[in-house]
């Protein structure tokens, strides 16, 4: 059974073929890693799946529905949330405001300014999530005051609050200290236990190989292999292309 099916996906930027006939699958309830050398096209693949960049050819089927004509903002409502390689918190807002933006789209219209808005409904959930990652004291801090690792955590929490079934994390472990990395790992495992499917781009191999059920390997925009972490780590093609002998 497949939650996400990427088939023959391609995208060029000028003369550079960033993604070239990429195909892979993501099983529901799995943690799937997406690895490859820098410039392999991993982030572009994320951008194609979430339609931040339109694909030139190929298919992206999520729960059987083709996503290529769905605008980026509607992808979230279909059940796919994502983080970005560069942290994209709203640094002009507080942590609470950053998280509330992810909670609901009910109040996005201007008319909500004149109707009762009961955002306290979400507050209990926000507080519980912040406690889970040890950031409970930062609820009303400006997002600009957070450290790099804390910002990564809040960005992941924003994904969690979107109630998506599939969460795409772009390098959640990059630049994160060992203590926070354990928190990130705990959170990912908990989300997975709760039935969420995760697709994770990561260069931190020990971290990814610990948590992933399957790993997709890319090289030069192309699919190299998809298998269990154990098999990927010993495959000669992967060793040559990425992991080193």
């Amino acid at each position: 059974m497949t939650l996400l099916l990427v088939e023959n996906l391609s995208k060029s930027f000028g003369g550079v073929r960033a993604v070239d006939g990429l195909s892979f699958t993501v099983r529901p309830g799995s943690i799937t890693g997406l690895i490859g050398p820098n410039g392999a096209g991993k982030t572009t693949a994320f951008n194609l799946i979430t339609h931040f960049v339109p694909a030139e050819s190929g298919q992206i089927l999520y729960q059987g529905e083709d996503l290529r004509r769905v605008p980026a903002h509607r992808i979230v409502r279909k059940g796919i949330a994502r983080t970005f390689q560069q942290i994209r918190l709203f640094r002009n807002l507080t942590v609470r405001e950053n998280l509330l933006l992810a909670c609901s789209h009910t109040y996005d219209g201007w008319w909500s300014s004149f109707s009762p808005v009961d955002e306290d409904l979400h507050l209990e959930r926000l507080t519980a999530l912040l406690e889970e990652v040890g950031l409970q004291d930062y609820l009303d801090h400006s997002a600009a005051e957070l450290s790099y690792g804390q910002s990564k955590l809040v960005e992941i929490l924003r994904c969690v609050l979107q109630d998506a079934d599939l969460i795409l994390l772009d390098e959640p472990a990059a630049g994160v200290n060992p203590t926070l990395l354990r928190t990130v790992e705990r959170l990912i495992r908990r989300l997975n236990r709760d039935g969420k499917t995760l697709l994770i781009i990561e260069h931190h191999m020990p971290f990814l190989m610990r948590i992933a059920d399957e790993v997709v390997v890319m090289e030069n925009g192309r699919f190299l292999m998809q298998d269990t972490p154990e098999k990927v780590q010993t495959d000669p093609r992967v060793l040559e292309a990425y992991l080193g002998a």
């Binding site: 409502r77 709203f90 002009n92 807002l93 933006l101 992810a102 996005d108 219209g109 201007w110 300014s113």
Partner: protein
């Protein structure tokens, strides 16, 4: 002297609404729109034409001006808001230039450069507000009501979304927000309130010509927002008061009449440069020292 002070207070009241309306689209949502003065002018011309040609009542003129300018802004937004930054600025500035040409040359509607005379004084249910005191009181009530609505918009989840879009539109899209629609709404609402300010101006001055669309007006508006604090609700009001009061200083320090204009421009330039150095987030921020001052 009293009449002069009242006139200044009325203009301040009108401009505080105009600046706040600009603050919604430019300050809060971050749309670098240099055509905001079009909406002010549309509101003023709608009021002037309806008043002189149809004798329609004051409040209806304000309302229709807001609706027409809002509808025009929605169309302009749909056409231009796919652009961003400098491209949006140039496109909207171009629209403002076109508005001057239309107001100057569509003589059957606007009476061209000769302007529209005989606009009625504000009146509600047969009660005329003819003295400056009465006009000031009425305008204060209307502007405070509009400012309250804008305050609600700034403080609401809608306002929070606009601030998010201003900071990072891609991240907002990543959270499932329809940023384009939000921007169009921001421009539309902003235009509607600017048109109300324009209507108030027309019914106060009782005369209107195409100079209302002039480029210096948008520069003036930008100056008020930068001085007060872009995106800050109190900053928009503070910036309006500071800039308008500063503009009156040359009158009281014995400058010859011919030099009052240039002296005013020098003061504005000095104020702008001072703000860039000492209060880049606006003068109001110096007092509040809080991020995202409201």
């Amino acid at each position: 002297m009293l009449e002069y002070l009242l006139s200044l207070a009325i203009l301040m009241t009108i401009w505080s609404l105009l600046t706040q309306s600009y603050n919604l689209s430019f300050g809060l949502t971050g749309l670098f729109n240099l055509g905001h003065i079009i909406f002010y002018g549309m509101g003023a011309y709608t009021a002037a034409i309806l008043s002189t040609q149809f004798g329609s009542p004051f409040l209806l003129n304000l309302l229709l001006g807001a609706l027409i300018a809002g509808a025009f802004a929605a169309v302009l937004g749909l056409l231009t808001l796919r652009l961003s930054g400098h491209y949006l600025a140039i496109a909207t500035l171009g629209a403002a230039m076109i508005a001057i040409v239309v107001a100057t040359n569509w003589i059957s509607l606007t009476n061209g450069p000769m302007g529209i005379r005989g606009i009625s004084q504000p009146s509600i249910l047969g009660v005329e507000f003819s003295s400056s005191w009465a006009v000031l009181a009425l305008y204060l009530v209307i502007v405070i009501a509009c400012q309250w609505v804008l305050w609600r918009l700034f403080r609401s989840p809608f306002g929070r979304l606009q601030r998010a879009i201003a900071h990072d539109e891609i991240a907002a899209k990543g959270l499932g927000k329809d940023t384009f629609r939000s921007q169009v709404w921001s421009l539309t609402l902003s235009a509607a309130f600017a048109a109300v300010a324009g209507g108030l101006y027309a019914h106060y001055r009782l005369f209107l010509d195409p100079s209302i669309f002039a480029l210096p007006e948008i520069i003036f508006l930008l100056l008020m927002l930068i001085v007060g604090g872009q995106g800050s609700f109190s900053g928009a009001i503070g910036g309006t008061v500071i800039v308008l009061l500063l503009g009156e200083v040359p009158r009281f320090v014995g400058f010859p009449d011919a030099l009052i204009g240039p002296a005013r421009n020098l003061l504005y330039a000095a104020l702008l440069i001072s703000c860039m150095f000492f209060a880049p987030r606006g003068v109001v921020w110096l007092f509040t020292r809080r991020r995202a001052s409201i």
